[in-house]
Assembly symmetry: C2
Homo-oligomer: 204 residues x 2
């Protein structure tokens, strides 16, 4: 069976963006597969009693430098988002709805939403900007906003977030390989190492 | 001039322990020098409004696994300390006093205190255990405890902690290379990269 990496993310999280850029290379090298797990990071942080870096001014000042350094090290384009922190609820409901109903369209939306947040500095909480980002990604904005407003889709994002918390998630990005959990894009080296044995096993 | 890495640490911090074990190899490879900056992490966290992982149960459960994985990756001996979090004030005052007055004795104490915390699972907040750890490290316990109780030494640790906070420190381990700050043992790759140019420059 092909090994899997579950990727718990929110497009409003800059380190999730770095992970989304770095992950394909890692799974390809290991012959593994990404299982996408969109969640609402704000709800995860609130429910677990965790704290976002922007609540701690000294930490936030460092995080801003750190993300730029990490993006440079990964050769990933990155620009600070002047609107951060951004409420990504509708964007994540769209991701959740597409993943459930139109999985072929999911990757294009996630990539567009991450790029809007962390390259273009857009405010996905602003309805007009969100609609523009949807259209620029090649989608019908009224269609995707209707999808996002469906009670079933809202429930799906809520239950996915609750399930992640129940499994131990307290932040994003988080990765699962089987029952092993890894938090932070800076633990992708460990994810790669855990995936490696399965790959070596297949070759032997 | 020999490049320097300032190492801001507290022996009560398990990631500081991992950094203390990994740092010598990095500075040797770069021809650099460690400048030790003992601080009281509890005061740093309180003053900056930061939060220790043990305040967030889900995060603490993951951190316990993560430290073991990181220690294994670095081939560093590690055992959970059942007394964590431990008040390391006296241990850090001893470190501060030795650094100021008997710098040749400083490394042996820091290594012994880190080992007591993160290999032997000792409670450095317990006077009898602390005295035993001091003696096992080859020091006179009454002498070092007298040093730790000197007002000048207490002031030195307090002012070093305040200075670190003023420079942007919010947690440990933290590294400075010039005015560039790095937080976390998992940023030592970036520290090594920043140190490298000076080394390459010398060779060209």
């Amino acid at each position: 069976m092909q090994p899997q990496v579950e990727f718990v993310f929110d497009v409003g999280s800059p380190y999730s963006y770095l992970a989304e850029r770095a992950l394909p290379g890692i799974v390809q090298a290991a012959g593994a597969q990404i299982v996408w797990r969109p969640v609402l990071l704000g709800a995860v942080i609130k429910t677990t009693g965790n704290h976002s870096p922007f609540e701690v001014p000294a930490k936030m000042r460092w995080v801003e430098q750190d993300i730029e350094r990490c993006a440079r090290a990964l050769a990933v384009p990155f620009n600070r988002n002047p609107h951060f922190p951004v409420n990504t609820m509708v964007a994540m409901r769209i991701a959740t709805g597409l993943l459930a109903r139109r999985p072929d369209d999911f990757p294009a939306w996630v990539e567009a939403a991450f790029r809007a947040m962390w390259v273009e500095g857009r405010n996905l909480a602003d309805p007009a900007e969100l609609a523009a980002v949807i259209r620029n990604a090649g989608f019908d904005d009224r269609q995707l906003l209707a999808l996002a407003s469906e009670p079933a889709v809202k429930d799906l994002l809520r239950s996915a977030t609750e399930e992640a918390i129940a499994r131990g998630v307290f932040g994003a990005p988080t990765f699962f390989v089987g029952d092993q959990m890894f938090w932070g894009h800076d633990r992708l080296d460990q994810v790669a190492r855990v995936l490696a044995p399965a790959d070596s096993g297949r070759q032997s």
